[in-house]
C-alpha cells in the first residue's frame, strides 16, 4: 500500500462551470495506486498559517498514468474550497492519500453507476476504470445544470454519447433526477445487478429505495466532516444499520459502503 503525505505541485487548474473546478496534481505514486472511490486530504491553508486548520477531503475524480497526475473535481462551497480555487498552477499543495476503501472492482452481472452533483467525481473514475478493463457499465450522471456536467466530462474525456445525463433544469440530457433513468434501467434487469453510487444524501436514499430487492448489491459512497482522514480522531462517524447504537467511520471503513450496512 502506498500512502503519500507531501507537497505536490498543481499542474492544471481550471474553472469548468459555475463555482466548479478541475484540479490536476502531480503525484505519480498516488496516480499509480489510487482506486476508484478513494479520496485524498488536501491542505488549503497558506504557509505557516493555521486557518483553515484542517485539510479537506476530495474524491479522486480520475488519474493520468502517463503524466503521473491525479484529478479532483470540486465545487466552491465555503472558505476552504474558495482558498483552494485561488491556487495557481505551479504552486504546491499538501496532499495525503490515497485514502479509504473504494468501490468493488470485480462484480458479476450488470453494472449501473449513478453519480449526482459533485458525486460524479468518483463515478467518473470508476467508469473510466471499468472501460479501461474492457468491461461495460451503464453510467447515469445528474446535475442541477448542464454546464456543470459538460466541463467535467470534457476534462475527463468522457463522451456524452456514452453516458445518460439528467439535469434539474433540463439544459442537458433528460430533465429531472438520476432516479428517472435508473428506474427504467431497473425494469429491464434481472436480480444479478450491481449499483454503485455517489451523490447527496437524498439521492442515495432515493437510489436505495428504488433498488431495494432488485439488485444484488448497492454500494454507496458517503461523506462527512473529517478531521484526519486516516482513522485517528473518530470524527467521521456514521450510523450503522440496525437497532444497536453503533457507528462506522467513513474515512477508514469507507467512504464506500454496502448500503445494507449503513443508515441512509
Amino acid at each position: 500500500m502506498v500512502l503519500v503525505d507531501r507537497k505536490c505541485k498543481i499542474i492544471h487548474h481550471s474553472q469548468v462551470g459555475p463555482e466548479v473546478y478541475v484540479l490536476g496534481i502531480d503525484a505519480v505514486d498516488v496516480a499509480k495506486h489510487a482506486l476508484p472511490g478513494q479520496f485524498v486530504m488536501i491542505g488549503v491553508r497558506g504557509k505557516s498559517a493555521f486557518d483553515p486548520l484542517l485539510r479537506r477531503p476530495f474524491s479522486i475524480a480520475w488519474t493520468d498514468h502517463v503524466k503521473g497526475m491525479i484529478f479532483i473535481f470540486y465545487r466552491v462551497v465555503g472558505r476552504g474550497t474558495r482558498l483552494l480555487s485561488e491556487y495557481m498552477p505551479g504552486t504546491g499543495l499538501e496532499l495525503l492519500g490515497p485514502l479509504g476503501r473504494g468501490f468493488s472492482l470485480e462484480v458479476s452481472g450488470r453494472r449501473i453507476l449513478v453519480g449526482g452533483g459533485l458525486g460524479i467525481a468518483p463515478i467518473i473514475f470508476l467508469y473510466k476504470w471499468i472501460k479501461a478493463s474492457g468491461a461495460s457499465a451503464t453510467c447515469i450522471l445528474g446535475a442541477r445544470t448542464g454546464d456543470e456536467l459538460l466541463g467535467a466530462l470534457k476534462a475527463s474525456d468522457i463522451s456524452l454519447e456514452d453516458v445518460i445525463i439528467t439535469t434539474e433544469d433540463g439544459s442537458l440530457g433528460k430533465k429531472g433526477l438520476v432516479t428517472g433513468p435508473l428506474a427504467k434501467c431497473l425494469d429491464h434487469i434481472g436480480g444479478d445487478a450491481t449499483i454503485q453510487a455517489c451523490g447527496p444524501a437524498p439521492m442515495l436514499k432515493a437510489v436505495s429505495n428504488l433498488s431495494n430487492h432488485k439488485v444484488r448489491l448497492l454500494e454507496v459512497s458517503l461523506e462527512s466532516y473529517m478531521a484526519c482522514g486516516i482513522g485517528l480522531c473518530l470524527g467521521c462517524a456514521h450510523k450503522k444499520r440496525g437497532d444497536s447504537e453503533e457507528y462506522v467511520h467513513i474515512c477508514k471503513d469507507g467512504p464506500v459502503f454496502d448500503a445494507r450496512d449503513v443508515v441512509l
Partner: protein, 309 residues
Amino acid sequence: MGEIRELSDINLEVSLGPIRLKNPVMLASGTCGYGRELTPHLDLNSIGAVVVKGISLEPRPGNPPPRIFETPCGLLNAIGLENVGVKAFLTEKLPWLKDQGISTVVNILGNSVEEYKRLCSILSEESQSILAIEINVSCPNVKAGGVAFGRTPEGTYEVVRHVVEVTEIPIIVKLSPNVTDITSIAQAAQDAGAHAISLINTILAMAIDIEKKRPLLGNTFGGLSGPAIKPIALRMVWEAHRAVDIPVIGIGGISTWKDAVEFLMAGASAIQIGTATLVEPGSAKKILDGLTRFMRQKGYREVEALWID
C-alpha cells in the same frame, strides 16, 4: 551577542517521577488512535510515548454525528469517548504496541471511582507493557449528579487517591481546564499521590448552525482544541508548574517546535501533541527535530534547562 556553539551532547531524556521517556514529545489521547493507525506516517519508537484513546470498562459507541466542526484555528469535537473497552484493548490493541516496543500510556475514563479502580486493577495485569496510566478526570461523576470529577479539588482527590492504591503503574492525572482555579486541582492531584499531571484537556465550547437554528454538534457541547487554545493552555501550565512539585506535561494547541519550546519554558517537563497530528500525521517528529535543533543551537543540555525560573 556571544558566539553560537552547537552542542552535540544534549540529553533529551526526561523522568516524570518514575516514568522515563527517551524524549519529551508524546502523542495526546484521542488524536493518535491506538497507535497503529499512525505507523505509515510516524515511527512511534522515535517519540517519547503514545497516549492511546481513552479506554472505559465497557465499549462505548460514542456520540451521534456531527462530531467535529472546525472553528477559527481550532477544532471542536464531541466524539463521546468512543472506544473498544478495556477487554478488547488488552487483547486486540496492546499486544501490537508491546511487540513493537512502543512506550505506551493508557488513558482511562469512568463514571465512578469504582470504575476507575477496576480499570486500574485490570491494567495492572499488563504492568510490564504499560508505561503509565493517564486518568481523564473530565468525565461526569454519576454519583455527584454528573459533575465532572476534575471540576473540583475534592472530586479529583477522590479518584486519584483510590487508583494509586490499586496499581503499581505510575499515574498521570489529566486536568480539565474548565475550572476556576487550576492550581487547587493540581495540588489535589499531587496530594492524592499522582506521579505527574498533564494539562490541558479540551475547553468546553459550542457552535450553532444558523440555517437549521440548532446547535451544530450532535451533542450540543464539544471540546475545543488546536492553536486557538494554546495561550490558555500555556498560562495554565505556567500556573500548575508553580503550584506543585510533581512534573507537568504540557498539552494544548502545540503545532510547531516553537510552541513546544514555549510549553517547556513555562515549566512543562514533557509535552503532548494532539490536534496537530490530525492535521498532519507526521507532526510529532517535526516538532521533536525542531526542538532538538533549538536546544543544540542555544546550548540547552537538557529539557528542564529550558524552564523559566
